[in-house]
């Protein structure tokens, strides 16, 4: 492997890599690029991610998309048809199982067999690689709206090859966002490189006139991630993808729960992503994704509905292009199709009731946007400085130095020195910013906000506060107050 750098992979080199990738599992042989391009071109705009996102951007509404994956093709078809027809989804997913995510296709295969035998899905997602191009196409063809592959795969090269050839028109993930929260022992050099491949593949299709939407995974660990951290990652991945030729990108953000922070964060993310794309003159159609609360959910379904509805309200006020929807089963397990549909319907009701409403402009939101812009720029500029102008190198070095650091991430690559905590109004702040470079006034802002909470609660800021915050929403609160 050549030295990692943020530079478009040469076509020849890319095709050399492809051969090896496709050999990793027998279904790789089903990928025939010319035929795949023709197949993709036969998919009309209303069934393409880019087409539906474009319309939504023009019309101004917020689209809804569930997560959904089961072991078998027929089950997956039934599930997606239900979510389209009964749930009223605008966009569909194929959420991939955890074995496939770790390239353990043999285990995934066992899971498929056991699912046949058990008569229920023994896998937590849809194993696209095992099913292969032709079988997976049956899924795309059974529905009349676009389908995205959603996963969490550090090395998604084969998955991307098969997915795009199979007619999926959007592919989630990135070299950072699908490593640090989703892996333990894989180097960032490796995953960024794997994802340059995915992006290069996307760019190649783009050159043939086929637009595939790419979406860095916004929420990361989903647990009290300060917006500047997830923004920095999303923007780095956007730049890396754009460099390889991706032209349709959705940047995402996971709800923190404080409305002002959430609305401000999505606004800042949108501004920043455009700003950095412009800096390098990348021509990208940009859209935004708002994830309903990604941390621990309440077990009670009525309470879960409330969390879902609140996420929908924040998405509406934030004017996200799409919102990723949770379900009332979240705390328990992979939802039934009915529970999944219920999450969609509750979300739709809120979005519709709020679609003509706006959150008035205010100093509070402006201040929050300003802080969020400043802190994210501060991180990003340090990253590119460390990389000596190269975002790929910068990202690797930034993680090593703790300049980028994701709370609660399992990866050894991550320093794990950062500790977030909620402030007195429930916004996520830094209890400890570790080595994340923040302007002094921003740091002061965080300190004051956290101190105000400590004062209200008459207890010192401590790890106990963080634990209380981690449990808070699942226990029916936003801020984890004592007693």
């Amino acid at each position: 492997m050549a030295e990692l750098q943020n530079q478009r992979i040469e076509t020849e080199e890319f095709f050399d890599m492809r051969r090896e990738v496709l050999e990793a599992w027998p279904t790789g042989a089903e990928v025939n690029l010319d035929e795949a391009v023709a197949y993709q071109k036969s998919i009309p705009p209303p069934k393409r991610f880019s087409g539906v996102l474009d319309s939504a951007l023009a019309a101004g509404g917020t689209l809804i998309q569930p997560r959904a994956g089961v072991a078998l093709v027929e089950q997956q078809i039934a599930l997606l048809k239900y979510l389209e027809e009964k749930g009223g989804a605008d966009l569909l997913p194929a959420t991939v199982d955890s074995y496939t995510r770790q390239n353990q296709y043999r285990e995934a295969g066992k899971g498929i067999e056991e699912s046949f035998a058990a008569g229920r899905s023994m896998l937590n997602g849809f194993p696209i690689v095992n099913h292969g191009v032709n079988e997976s196409r049956r899924v795309i063809e059974a529905v009349s709206i676009p389908v995205q592959v959603r996963h969490g795969t550090p090395d998604a090269r084969l998955l991307a090859e098969i997915s795009i050839a199979a007619g999926f028109t959007a592919f989630e993930g990135g070299g950072i966002s699908y490593n640090i929260p989703y892996a333990k022992d894989i180097s960032l050099e490796a995953t960024i490189n794997y994802w340059q491949y995915v992006d290069r593949l996307t760019g190649w299709y783009e050159e043939q006139g086929v637009t595939i939407n790419r979406e860095p995974f916004g929420p990361l660990t989903g647990t009290l991630v300060p917006p500047c951290i997830s923004h920095a990652v999303a923007i780095i991945e956007t730049l890396l993808a754009a460099e390889q030729g991706a032209r349709n990108i959705s940047v995402g953000y996971g709800q923190c729960g404080n409305l002002i922070q959430d609305v401000a964060a999505l606004k800042a993310l949108n501004i920043l992503a455009r700003e950095y794309l412009e800096r390098y003159n990348y021509q990208v159609a940009l859209s935004t994704v708002f994830h309903q609360w990604m941390g621990g959910f309440p077990a009670d379904e009525a309470k879960a509905f409330a969390v879902i509805a609140w996420g929908a309200a924040a998405a509406a006020f934030a004017k996200a292009t799409k919102v990723i929807v949770k379900t009332p089963h979240e705390a328990f397990g992979v939802p039934t199709k009915e529970a999944n549909g219920d999450g969609l319907k509750a979300t739709r009701q809120i979005l519709n009731m709020l679609r003509d409403q706006v959150l008035p402009e205010s100093d509070e939101i402006d201040a929050e946007v300003a802080v969020n812009l400043a802190e994210t720029r501060s991180i990003l500029e340090k990253v590119v400085e460390l990389g000596e102008g190269d975002w790929a190198k910068g990202a690797v070095r930034a993680f090593a130095a703790g300049i980028l650091d994701i709370p609660f991430a399992p990866s050894r690559v991550n320093r794990g020195k950062v500790m977030p905590v909620r402030d007195d109004k429930g916004a996520v702040r830094f209890l400890d910013n570790g080595n994340i470079p923040l302007p002094r006034d921003v740091l002061e802002y965080h300190r004051e906000k956290v101190a105000a909470r400590a004062k209200t609660e008459r207890r010192p800021v401590s790890f106990q506060m963080v634990i209380d915050d981690i449990y808070a929403i699942s226990k029916g609160m936003l801020v984890g107050r004592p007693g």
Binding site: E107, F332, V334, P410
Partner: protein
């Protein structure tokens, strides 16, 4: 008082790290020696660590739904490895989907687990049970 040793980890290809960090904190605070293997731990790693640290119990998490596939045969391997009597606790979201806990419990009991916990179990519950199973009750 003797310090009892727990091997803690999230089994299989599971990367859910948040609960694991809290369990480490809670078990340590409760006076146990905790050997935390983190996420993505194989059966073999659990057993090796237990032997190496002469652990009294394995505290296994599985959140992502493949718990049933990942946990099969663990008791047998413990027996083969000569630690057949070790306490095996397991908790989290053990199977795919929202299931009746009674069924899940029975399934894992049959697989040789001593204690099985439903989603959202507080660490305190396991600590109480541990004290009972280790004969530490006052």
């Amino acid at each position: 008082m003797k310090k009892y040793t727990l091997v803690l980890g999230v089994i299989g290809m599971d990367v859910h790290a948040v609960g694991n960090k809290i369990l480490e904190y809670a078990f340590t605070n409760a006076g146990f020696k905790v050997v935390n293997l983190g996420v993505m731990v194989s059966q073999a790693e659990f057993i090796d660590a237990a032997i190496e640290t002469a652990a009294d119990a394995m505290m296994i998490s599985s959140l992502y739904g493949h718990g049933e596939l990942d946990c099969r045969g663990l008791r047998g391997k413990c027996i083969e490895a000569g630690i057949g009597n070790i306490l095996l606790y397991v908790g989290g979201n053990l199977v795919v989907g929202k299931a009746s806990f009674a069924e899940v419990e029975q399934k894992f009991k049959a697989m040789g687990f001593d204690r099985i916990y439903p989603p959202g179990t507080a660490p305190e519950t396991a600590i109480r049970d541990l004290k009972e199973d280790l004969g530490l009750m006052t």
